[in-house]
């Protein structure tokens, strides 16, 4: 093999973190604080941060990627995946170490970067393509293919602001998919769009990988990582903890996830958001209000969230709460969000509990699933925890027949009956010809 396409040595990135807000104790202190605040803020913005104000998003990261290799970067939220991609995409500089990249890089950290809402789809294809590093001639040559891939033929001259979010994503991915770089760097962009389009995107990625290009791919979708990537790099707290076959990397990631869950949700650091409101505990309750460790398929239960906010969340603010049920392979099974369910919770106190009762139960087959929690206040992400807690579904005799389901991913309540006249077992246990019984 020739020289590596990507070679990373001792890469580290230090970020400055904001210090905790000061709490005022008296009017006099509040006043002096207010007067001295500009000076304090000026120093905070100007001076290099001291050691306790910084954290290392990446530390001593090293690996090499050969041309044509497809490598998945996996790890929990806050493990440094996005920072790594940003450094390799030259968006931000490393604090230490170096990376050498041989070949034309196309990086896709966001779908539809730089779309201008007032411009038409046609105009935005050119703009977005140019931002991603394509020349005008390349865009013109690929234009028809981009339009065909995105499936927005009828709306080419409509301003993008009138597009649905799905259309915008499709257009954005279509442009990026035709970038034809030698090295493709992709952040979790497949997580958007409808299932059919996601499949198309994965297909495109698979094609890129098979055509001999080098791909670096970040995802929480373990199925995609295992099937697309030959190799996986597992990051934890900014360090590479495993680098090897993708199957093994995924296995280690899943195990590390379980060990994270044993730690207290309140102290978990692998979360994102400004922390205005945090989910500090989460458990399952049955209909009698008892905490339970697992539930049966199609059995009603409640997911109770204990939260802590840094101030009251008033009625007039827009609150988004959601819990999702996932498994690392299949992705999301259920998305249980407050607004779709009518937005019945209007405000939050400083601390408290909210619950989501799942009246129908979940139709999942026995196994271990994961709950993600997501809180957003006035469209600003407050707290997002992936795999906040496991959801255990135990074996249950759903049909009450003394048998367990044999196979299939989901359960249903069902029964069989004859439609055309045929022999059906009647109540007395004797066979008799009969039609449909109600």
């Amino acid at each position: 093999m020739s020289e590596p396409a990507i070679s990373v040595e001792g890469l580290a990135k230090r970020y400055k973190i904001g210090l905790a807000a000061r709490t005022d104790r008296s009017f006099r202190e509040a006043l002096t604080d207010w007067v001295s605040a500009p000076w304090r803020r000026f120093r905070a913005l100007s001076e290099p941060a001291s050691a306790e104000e910084t954290f290392w998003a990446l530390k001593d990261v090293g690996f090499q990627v050969a041309p044509g290799e497809v490598v998945g970067i996996i790890g929990r939220n806050g493990a440094g995946k996005s920072t790594l991609l940003k450094i390799l995409s030259q968006i931000t500089l490393p604090t230490e170490g170096r990376a050498v990249i041989r070949g034309r890089v196309g990086s896709l950290l966001e779908v539809g970067t730089g779309f201008h809402p007032d411009l038409s789809g046609r105009e935005n294809i050119y703009l977005n393509g140019a931002l991603l590093g394509m020349t005008r001639a390349e865009i013109t040559r690929q234009f028809d293919a981009i339009v065909a891939f995105s499936g927005i033929e009828g709306f080419l001259d409509t301003p993008v602001k009138r597009y649905s979010s799905g259309m915008r994503v499709r257009l954005g991915f279509a442009v990026a998919a035709h970038l034809e770089p030698e090295i493709l760097i992709v952040d979790e962009v497949l997580a958007v769009g409808d299932a059919e389009f996601q499949k198309k995107c994965l297909g495109k990625m698979d094609g890129v990988a098979k055509s001999g290009r080098t791909v670096l791919f970040v995802s929480h979708n373990m199925a995609a990582v295992e099937s697309l990537c030959t190799r996986g790099v597992l990051l934890e707290h900014g360090r590479v903890v495993y680098d090897g076959p993708s199957g093994e990397a995924v296995g280690r990631y899943l195990r590390s996830m379980e060990s994270a869950v044993t730690s207290d949700l309140a102290t978990r650091a692998d979360r994102q958001g400004d922390g205005a409101c945090r989910i500090v505990d989460l458990w399952l309750e049955d209909d009698d209000g008892r905490r339970v460790g697992s539930v049966g398929p199609l059995e009603p239960f409640s997911i109770v969230l204990q939260y802590e906010c840094d101030r009251h969340v008033e009625l007039r603010r827009h609150l988004d709460l959601s819990v999702t049920v996932n498994d690392p392979y299949a992705g999301q099974w259920y998305h249980l969000d407050l607004q779709t369910a009518g937005g019945m919770i209007k405000g939050l106190g400083r601390t408290g509990r909210v619950a989501c009762r799942i009246d129908s139960g979940v139709a999942l087959r026995p196994g271990r699933y994961w709950l993600n929690t997501f809180v957003r206040i006035d469209h600003a992400l407050a707290d997002w925890v992936i795999n906040a807690a496991p959801l255990m579904i135990h074996e249950a005799d759903v049909l009450g027949m003394g048998r367990l389901p044999v196979a299939g991913r989901l359960c249903a309540v069902y029964r069989w009956c004859a439609v055309e006249p045929s022999m059906q077992l009647d109540a007395t246990g004797a066979y008799s010809p009969s039609g449909v019984k109600a």
């Binding site: 996005s82 940003k86 170096r98 990376a99 140019a130 030698e182």
Partner: protein, 316 residues
């Protein structure tokens, strides 16, 4: 990752609902064939990037600016296209605005205050000053906040950052050319035609653009860290206008204070612009000082911008 969360309250990222077994059926027909020439060893050798902490003073790479030249074009094109979308008068605004300013200033300063105007009708006097001033203040105001208004680009895609403030100047330049056309019409109306000194205009424009670019780069880089400048810039430009001979002639300032006026490079530029348009003798000394000042400010702006550039994505 919060910026990927869409407004419907849908949880971002982990939402991928692709099933493991579906991979066999995925659509691979759209995969473009790879161009062997593009991935040959020759291309690879030419395309080696080293990413490492940068400490040098100047981070602007002329080769890279050239490679991305089409992007500058697209950024200017985007702003021009989107600028007057959903307006009734469209690009007419580029003409109406300077004319309105001229009318207001002529009424207030020419009509009410009886401001002297170097022996020409006040409207053509003030417009000759407004033309370069509007270009300068428009370019600096837009460029100064450009990194903040377009921070979405800073954190998601790589390209020479200089092009963000630079593209603002391109947009204002188009307005300037339209305004210059209006000025030609006004001069025809007053029967006051420029002479051979008009040949100097492109050079003056170059000095003006250098100065505007320097200030724009400086303010853009400062504003990323200190957002206060979003509020400071409009006030600063207004004050600067009254410190420059836009609505009054330099001759109005007492002789012994005139050197103070020269500290402001816009004095020399506006004075020379006006002289060249109105066919008056040019104050070469003032223009010389202004040109040197512009080169210095441009240099300072470029150095400060490229030093600050490395932090943009982290603090924008």
């Amino acid at each position: 990752m919060s910026d990927r969360a869409d407004s419907n309250g849908v949880e971002p990222a982990s939402a991928a609902g692709i099933r493991f077994t579906d991979m066999s059926t995925v659509d691979t027909t759209h995969v473009a064939a790879i161009d062997p020439a593009a991935v040959g060893p020759a291309a690879r050798k030419a395309d080696v990037r080293v990413i490492a902490p940068r400490r040098g003073a100047l981070g602007v790479d002329p080769g890279e600016l050239w490679r991305y030249r089409e992007l500058l074009y697209f950024l200017v094109w985007r702003d021009l296209k989107s600028r007057y979308k959903q307006t009734v008068l469209g690009a007419g605004w580029a003409i109406i605005r300077p004319v309105m300013s001229m009318v207001v200033f002529s009424a207030v300063f020419g009509g009410l205050a009886k401001m002297p105007s170097d022996g020409v009708p006040y409207p053509i006097f003030v417009y000759a000053g407004l033309l370069p001033w509007t270009l300068f203040s428009g370019a600096v105001s837009l460029a100064g906040v450009s990194l903040i208004t377009q921070r979405g680009l800073l954190t998601k895609v790589y390209f020479p950052r200089v092009y963000i403030p630079a593209s603002c100047i391109g947009v204002v330049l188009v307005d300037f050319l339209l305004g210059a056309g209006v000025y030609a019409a006004i001069m025809l109306y007053y029967g006051h035609l420029p002479g051979a000194s008009l040949m100097l205009a492109p050079l003056l424009l170059a000095v003006l653009l250098l100065l505007a670019m320097g200030m724009g780069l400086l303010l853009a880089a400062v504003t990323v860290t200190y957002r206060d400048f979003q509020s400071i810039i409009p006030f600063m430009m207004q004050t600067w206008m009254y410190l420059s001979p836009v609505v009054y002639p330099t001759a109005l300032v007492p002789e012994r204070f005139r050197w103070l006026l020269l500290l402001n490079p816009m004095t020399g530029v506006i004075g020379a612009f006006r002289s060249c348009l109105l066919n008056h003798p040019i104050d070469w000394a003032a223009l010389g000082v202004a040109s040197c000042g512009s080169v210095v400010i441009f240099g300072l702006g470029l150095v400060y911008f490229s030093r600050a550039e490395r932090r943009f994505a982290d603090i924008a």
